[in-house]
Structure formats: C-alpha cells, structure tokens
C-alpha cells in the first residue's frame, strides 16, 4: 500500500509538498483530477497516475493545460469534486478557460493548483508570478509555506469552494512543492467505484452571455467579499510573536519559513503577519497589524504584490509607517534564509555578515545533457551533416531537446513557449527567405503545435518541422501522451494522421537510426517551397527500458 493512501488517522508520514497536496485532495474526497505535467507541479499528476485506480478517482493527463482546465470545469459542472493542476506557464495557456469558470462558479467544489518556479530551476520561459492571475480572475488564492500546509490549505480550499461555489487557487512555489516534511494524516473516505456525475441544465448558471455576464461579475465580487469575512472569522491569516516591538514583518509562502529561521539566527522576536490568503487581500488584519508599528519589512519572492497591497492599506489608515521590501530584497530569483536574515538584520539594526567563501573555488559547468544513447543525438547529428549550420535558423521548443541549445550542439536560435517553434518559424518564413528548421517533441506538438502547423499551411510558409517523436512526454518525468496512451484501452492519436489532415504534402516518417535517409530528406525538404514535416520516430530510452 502506498503511504499516501494509508488510512491511519494521526500517523506522521514524510511527504513531498506536492504529494501532501494530493493527500489533502484525497482527504477532501476529490473525485476528478486533470493536469498537464510541468515541473515543479509534475508530481501531482504522477502520483494520481499511480493511485487513481485504487482511490477510485477519475484521472487524466490532458493534452494541454487549457483542456485540462476545461475537463475540470466540465467535471465540476457535472457535480464532481475536482482538482486541476499545472505549472505557472500552464495557467497562461488555461487562462481563457479560467476567467469564465470563476464567473459561472462551480457545481462540484474545485481547486486549481499552480506551482511557480522562482529562480527558474526548471522553467525556460520567464520567471512568472501567478499571483497576477488572482487579480485578473478574481479568484480566491491561498499560499502554503510547507508540506503540511499544502495538505491543510488544499482542504481549506475545497471547503471555501464548496461553501461559496467558486474555484479556489492554491499557489505553490518550487521550494514548497519540492519540500519534504512529516505530515499528519487525516482520514480518506474510501469509495467502491468511480463517482458518476450528472449535469443538470441551468442556463443562468452555465452560460456566460451578455448581459448576464456582467451580473456574474457582480456575483464574483460579492462572493469575494463574503470570503474575506470567512477568512477573518476563521483566522486564516495570522499574527505571530505579538509584542511591543515597533518593527514588524509581513510575509507569505516559503518566505515565512526563512523569516522564522532568520529571527532564530539573529536571536530576535519581531511580530510577524503571515498572509495565507493572498486574494481577497485580508485588509482588516493588515490594518490591525500595522497600527502600532513604526517600520515594517515585507518579505516575499518576485514582484512586490504584498508590498503594494500593504502600502495601499497603510495609506487608508493614514499611518506614519516606513514600509521596506524590495529595497532590501531581490525581485529576481528566489529568496533564501541568508538573504532574509540580512534584510531583517538591516531593518532591526543588528549586524550580520553574509557567509562567504573568501578564496577562489573553480566554477563547475556540469549542465544537464541528453542521456547516453538518446535517439535525439542521431537527429541533431543528422541535421548537422545535412545542412550548413550558418545558413539555417534553428527553432527550439519546450522539451529535453532544448539541450540542443548548448555545447556541443548549439542548434537553437530562438526559444519561447510551448508550440512556438512552429508559430515563430511561420512568421520568420513569411517575411524572409532564410532557411529554417524547427525541433518540436511529440508531447509539445500535441499541446500547442497543431494550430501553428495549420497556420503555416493556411497562410503559406515553408519551414521544415522536425517532430522529435520519442513516444512519451520525457522531460517532466515520462508521462504518457496521445501517441502512446498509458491505458491500453485508450484510443491513440497518430501524429502522421494529423499532419496529413492539416494538408501537409511533404511528410516523411523516419527512424533517425537510418541516417542516410534522414539526411537526404532534410536536404530535400529544406529546399521545398511548401511546409515540410519529418517525424523522427524513435522511442525515449525510458520507454525502451520499460519494455
């Protein structure tokens, strides 16, 4: 029996933050889960993929985050308790489905878990701060600090959603998602089979057409007012170390842990306001906290959202308060105990010397690389033989093959977001005669490459697209995708059928081990005046080794 499914009330189990969130969903009685893998949120899907059958939970790796969101919306509309999970960039993809979902509200309680990645440990695109979506979507947002809170806040989020019929956002960050600690287990209500939903027609609730849509907006704002009161009544945000000090700290998420660590280190005890509900912002407790203070430090990662909110509240109560935050802490990159100790020492007027190695230590340039024997070596090697690299633009996309951008390959001239290798290729080819080859994996092609491919056909440009079909979503931990479903009963989708269906005439499926054929095809297709696709098909070593 997996520990995460243990039904031993009160037992302490060491869980990863993401798994603690899964446990919280199970203890809340989650009935439907959809996700698209992306680090640091991937384990949510990986764990449900392992346990969903045993736990009688509907689970799917959806094709992208937008359809994961829509699948979750549908399950909620049909009455099921639903969890939708993704990484930060995923919410960009899903945003169009998120906003109207907040308007219609939920039928089955729904939580949306999103994990940010300050310092971009595993994020190529940007250092995103999902809290911006809390404003954009008016979605209640909770920020846990550690694994235990991941579980507890997941349950709280389901409670809020159940009570106010609105989806709730649970925002994690890498150091919360990938933090382990002992988590006290609650109970899971076991069920004998999957729960069947029932969509009950209710046009007023589920159809967002004007003029009704504006009424819905009013309803969302009203719900958030009530939720704010609920937070206050249930003491969701809390003040610690209340004492006579005139200096205080406001913090949230993992930064709270660094604050407590720093005060231990400096041997001081300042009052701390821990913001757990970022949205709706708990103004009343903030007012109460600020009133007796002369100076505060806001400790938060990335953009100063809390700081701005607090400055606004301070203005409202017209208090003569010095508010420091990003003057002492970076906006780029994650925080750590040392940075926070330094900032608190400064505001408190205590001396602290940041530990530093005061002699030269060589920097190691050990970067991740393709696994030995990875079929991608053959693809990139073949391309290098087929063309003059200086005369060709190479479009990158999101997947293991991003590693082609570094030594020894250097085959990546632009990199942006999922599927964009093709979309951007089209733009370049529309306005330039330069030769261009894009690299995109099977998972990423399914995710967002298809509309871009249709656009190249429809709007007439001629890049050479190489689909690196390794039969799996490899980078995020080998999740199945539509070309090879994990469930033997599921219907698979052939990439070549899609390519043909889009009207592409130059199509070849090649195992890159046949180097001669591969090289000849690249040479031929790159001269074509039509869009060309090579499906370079050879399974990831992990797929091969599994068999």
């Amino acid at each position: 029996m997996e520990e995460i499914l243990l039904n031993k009330l009160g037992k302490k189990v060491i869980l990863l933050g993401n798994d603690a969130a899964v446990r919280g969903a199970l203890e809340s009685g989650v009935e439907f889960v959809s996700t698209y893998p992306g680090t640091p949120a991937s384990e949510i899907g990986n764990t449900f993929n392992r346990i969903a059958k045993k736990a009688n939970v509907h689970f799917e790796f959806s094709v992208n985050e937008k359809v994961a969101m829509e699948a979750g919306v549908g399950a909620s509309y049909a009455g099921l308790k639903t969890l939708i999970a993704m990484k930060n960039f995923g919410l960009n993809v899903a945003a169009e489905a998120l906003l109207p979902f907040v308007y219609t509200g939920t039928k089955g309680a729904t939580v949306i878990l999103v994990a940010d990645d300050p310092s971009c440990h595993s994020s190529a695109q940007s250092e995103e701060n999902t809290r911006a979506f809390s404003y954009l979507a008016n979605i209640p947002t909770l920020e846990p600090s550690d694994a235990l809170e991941c579980k507890n806040f997941m349950k709280l989020a389901f409670t809020i959603s159940e009570k106010f019929k609105i989806p709730v956002l649970l925002r994690l960050t890498t150091r919360v998602s990938h933090q382990k600690m002992p988590v006290v287990l609650g109970t899971i209500k076991t069920r004998k089979s999957l729960v069947e939903g029932n969509f009950i027609k209710d046009v007023k609730k589920f159809v967002t057409m004007p003029p009704r849509v504006l009424e819905m907006k009013e309803e969302v704002l009203a719900k958030n007012k009530e939720i704010d009161k609920f937070f206050e009544k249930n003491k969701i945000n809390r003040i610690e170390n209340l004492n006579k000090s005139k200096i205080g700290i406001v913090t949230s998420g993992v930064s709270y842990l660094y604050v407590m660590e720093a005060m231990q280190k400096l041997n001081i005890s300042l009052p701390v306001l821990k913001i757990e509900s970022f949205y709706p912002f708990p103004k009343n407790i903030v007012k109460k906290f600020l009133k007796p203070l002369k100076k505060i430090l806001v400790v938060e990662e990335l953009d100063p959202y809390l700081e701005r909110e607090i400055k606004a509240v301070a203005q409202e109560i017209n208090c003569n308060l010095k508010i420091l935050g990003k003057e002492l802490l970076p906006t780029t990159g994650e925080l750590n105990p040392n940075l926070v100790t330094d900032a608190i020492a400064k505001i408190y007027g205590k001396s602290y010397k940041m530990p530093k190695v005061n002699y030269f230590v060589p920097d190691l340039k050990r970067r991740p690389k393709f696994c030995p024997g990875c079929p991608y070596w053959l693809i990139f090697g073949g391309v290098k033989k087929a063309v003059n690299e200086k005369e060709v633009i190479f479009g990158g996309d999101i997947g293991c093959y991003m590693l082609a951008g570094q030594a020894p390959l250097f085959l990546q001239d632009y990199l942006s977001c999922m599927g964009s290798s093709i979309g951007i290729a089209h733009g370049i080819k529309k306005v330039s005669k330069q030769k261009l080859i894009t690299f995109i994996g099977d998972g990423t092609f399914f995710h967002a490459g298809i509309p871009a491919l249709i656009n190249t056909v429809f709007n007439g440009s001629n890049p050479l697209i190489i689909i690196m079909d390794n039969r799996i979503t490899a980078m995020t931990g080998h999740q199945p995708n539509p070309s090879v479903p994990a469930d033997p009963l599921a219907q698979n989708v052939n990439i070549e059928d899609i390519i043909k269906g889009c009207g592409v005439k130059n199509l070849k499926i090649i195992d890159p081990v046949n180097q001669e054929e591969f090289i000849e095809t690249v040479k031929k297709f790159i001269e074509s005046d039509k869009v060309s696709v090579i499906i370079a098909r050879s399974p990831c070593l992990f797929v091969k080794n599994k068999k």
């Binding site: 640091p40 150091r175 382990k180 230590v361 931990g477």
Partner: protein, 197 residues
Amino acid sequence: MNKKIEQFNIVIVGTGGQGLITLLQVIAEAALAGGYDVKTSELHGLSQRGGSVEVHIRFGKKIYSPMVPLGEADLVIALELQESLRAIKFINPKSNFLISDQIIPIPSQKTLETKEIISLVAKTSKNVKLLPAFSLCKEKFGTGVMAGIYLISFAAFKGILPLSTQLILEAVKKVIPSKYLDLNIKTFDLAKDYEEK
C-alpha cells in the same frame, strides 16, 4: 547518542542519477523515526539529466527552512569529487565533509586533480575525508551506485551523523525497493567494517 540535538544540517551533492533523492528519503525517515522534526529540499525536472544535483536535509527539535543556510552544514556528503566544490559555501571549520572517490568528467572542462579538490575543501573544513565508497562498492558488488548508502552508514557508525545505525538500517529497509535491499544492507555492513588508515 540518546541526547536530542537542537538542529542538524546536511547537504548532499552529486550528479543526476546518483540517487541523491533516495538518500534524502533514507535520512529523513531515520530522523522522523528518531523523534525529530525534519525538512528537506530537492529539485526535480531537467536537473535529472546528468546535471549537478544538491539536496538539503535538516532535522532537530523544530525546523523552519527546508534549505540549509550558507556556512551552516554540519555534514556534507559528496558523491562525486568535483561536486564537492559546490558545497564549500555551506561549510564552516567544524563541518564534517565526506567525499566518495568517484570522478565523473565534465565535458568541455578539464577534470580537477583530487589533491586540488581536497585542499580547497580543507581550507574551510578541518574534517574532510575522502573515502573509497564508490570503488569499494564497485569492487564488492559490481556497481558503485550504493556509494551514498555507504557514506551515510559510515557517518552513522562514526557518530558524525547523529542518528543511530539502527535508525539508518530501518530507514534503508523502508525506502529501498525490495529487489535492491539485499545489496544495500551489505553496503551498510561494509561501511561498519571500514578501518581508517
């Protein structure tokens, strides 16, 4: 070793595929069974593809941050010689620093001399030990992948990891999949028998 310690900080460095997350789980389980609060930090994703990996484990009466602050590691375990250098920022003169004798070359970078690496670490820590963890395991079992288990067992036997050897052994039994368990228990015993010259 019955006395409860206030706080103990461990940093493990190595490269993707050396099993750092398994070691983290073993130590965390042992610390929990020993009655401690525990927090750990790890990274997933592309870092698995042979890149540098660094994990943190902290246990004690009450642990806040999952990350070990700079200069505050009580114990560093390096599963690869060159990777030791990355952990220097976490140590102080009292830190114990155990290094396995494996070298994994970095493409496009000259491999550093063992002597040079040890002397750089020894500039800060007075307790550096280069152990034949990789070569011994490889010689006895045909694979060096248990080097990490060897080092944490060694640390427990020598008392530089304040968790009893019994706790470590129980945690190994809990965490390691059954088909590899026998080899790992043998590795544990091998560490017990190591005599320092």
